[in-house]
Amino acid sequence: MSFLSCPFPALVCNPFGLARDGIYGLLAAIVPEPLPTVALTVLGIAMLIAIIALTVMSQVWVERRAVAFLQERLGPNRVGPAGVLQSVADVLKLLLKEDLIPFKADRATFVVAPLVVLVPSLSVWSLIPWGPGLAIADVNVGILLVLAIGSFTTLGILAAGWASANKYSLLGGMRVAAQLISYEVPLVVSALVPVLWAGTASLQGIIESQATVWNVFVLPVGPIAFLVFLIAGIAEVNRSPFDLPEAESEIVAGFHTEYSGMRFALFFLAEYSNSLAIGALAAVLFLGGWQGPILPPYVWLFFKAYAVFLILVWIRGTLPRLRYDQLMHFGWKVALPISLVTLGATAVLVSAVQGTAA
């Protein structure tokens, strides 16, 4: 267990684990199994959602400040010291806004769509391990399940675009759908490289297989797979330079044109949560997950995920938006072949290492 190397008191190194054990002991004394387990899971989920919500607010502020810095602007700097409370103000504003539903819209779908986007993007977090034995659910097909749950997002966006009864929203929704299914293939294929390397699809297993060397440094396949994963990941979360679905100048903000107030905030929350989730996945698959010296595991994973998010911000501040045909061309004719070749090379390498080729 690598968090044993953490030199601080157990309360710092493993507060979640301690809290879990404490609450479990408390509950187990009063109510019978499996209620404590269920209660603990529900509690964990609630806590996770709270953490994610707070993190998203920090992400928004960091992104605005960072992009402003890159573009030699000031960025938000009025609300609170250095504008840190800007996000809080924005959230309050969104919550207080009037909630509009267009007259021609398909009401039921219009209302459900943001949830279809948000719920899976939060569910993904229940599978990410924050430390040894510290995941709400550790399933043996973890990575597949993460990617499968992630694919619900497409559906929600498509539904939102359709339900808005607005040509631009519909076009935006279809653009997202086409983009997401195009980039899902290289994403999955490059995510399979660490799976092959670890011999397991369990996220914990993949992290543990990187005890000596992170997958991103496994030459020659690691860096390539990581790069493809990162690019496809950016496309999956619709961020610049792949943010065509919401290209304001072309289709008026795409699928969420008609959304306002709280419902808009849900899309917003999902998008930033997804960005961070891609960071966390990249950390788990390629950057050794929660493993790292001195600091507690959960801090390491958070750092790594946030670092990847910062790379996304950097890219957003630097690169211009792609044209749609360039996007498709890159996805199918560049990213996909590279990821397939990488996967094939990994398979050959793995069987060479295991000596099962002949």
Binding site: L35, L147, A148, S151, A159, W162, M174, A177, A201
Partner: protein, 169 residues
């Protein structure tokens, strides 16, 4: 009092089964094609949940990944590329619809009666819960290598066929 694990499993099964069947029925009843598609998603995802309970984790993930991630999107695309006229009644002529329902009900009755009256030997009380991903992979490349190859050829043909058929001339 201890709640047996079996009851939890049963609860999960019934929830997912009910959702799956409800989704399937709503799919048929819904007047709006887009709603049908959303209900189909519900059915497919619930079937994935049933797979988990029946001990097929890998298949559940595959179900979500392929159906929700690909097939559903494909269907929704098809929907949007073929504007739907809502004036027509969405069911066939009453005679066709009713006789269809009768035949479907008869199929259900016959198969249910058969499977309930059969003597199932060589079955376990609980689903076997083993890590099956690797075994599925191994059997795909050994025992079922021929069907596997045929399926890949089928994919190729389907891909080319779909492109050729749907291409604008």
């Amino acid at each position: 009092m201890v709640i047996p694990m079996e009851l939890l499993v049963a609860g999960g099964f019934y929830t997912f089964a009910a959702a799956a069947i409800a989704g399937a029925i709503s799919l048929i009843i819904a007047r709006n094609v887009f709603h049908s598609a959303l209900f189909l998603t519900l059915t497919l995802a619930s079937a994935g949940g049933v797979f988990v309970i029946l001990g097929a984790d890998f298949l559940a993930a595959v179900q979500l990944l392929i159906y929700v991630g690909a097939v559903m999107i494909l269907i929704l695309f098809g929907l949007m590329l073929t504007p739907q006229d809502v004036e027509l009644p969405n069911l066939s002529t009453p005679g066709q619809a009713i006789s269809g329902a009768i035949v479907a009900a008869a199929i259900f009755v016959v198969s249910a009666a058969t499977l309930l009256s059969a003597q199932w030997s060589g079955t376990a009380a609980e689903p076997s819960d083993v890590a099956t991903t690797e075994q599925i992979g191994v059997s795909l490349f050994t025992t079922f290598v021929l069907p596997f190859e045929i399926a890949s050829v089928l994919f190729l043909v389907a891909m080319i066929g779909a492109i050729v058929i749907a291409r604008e001339r």
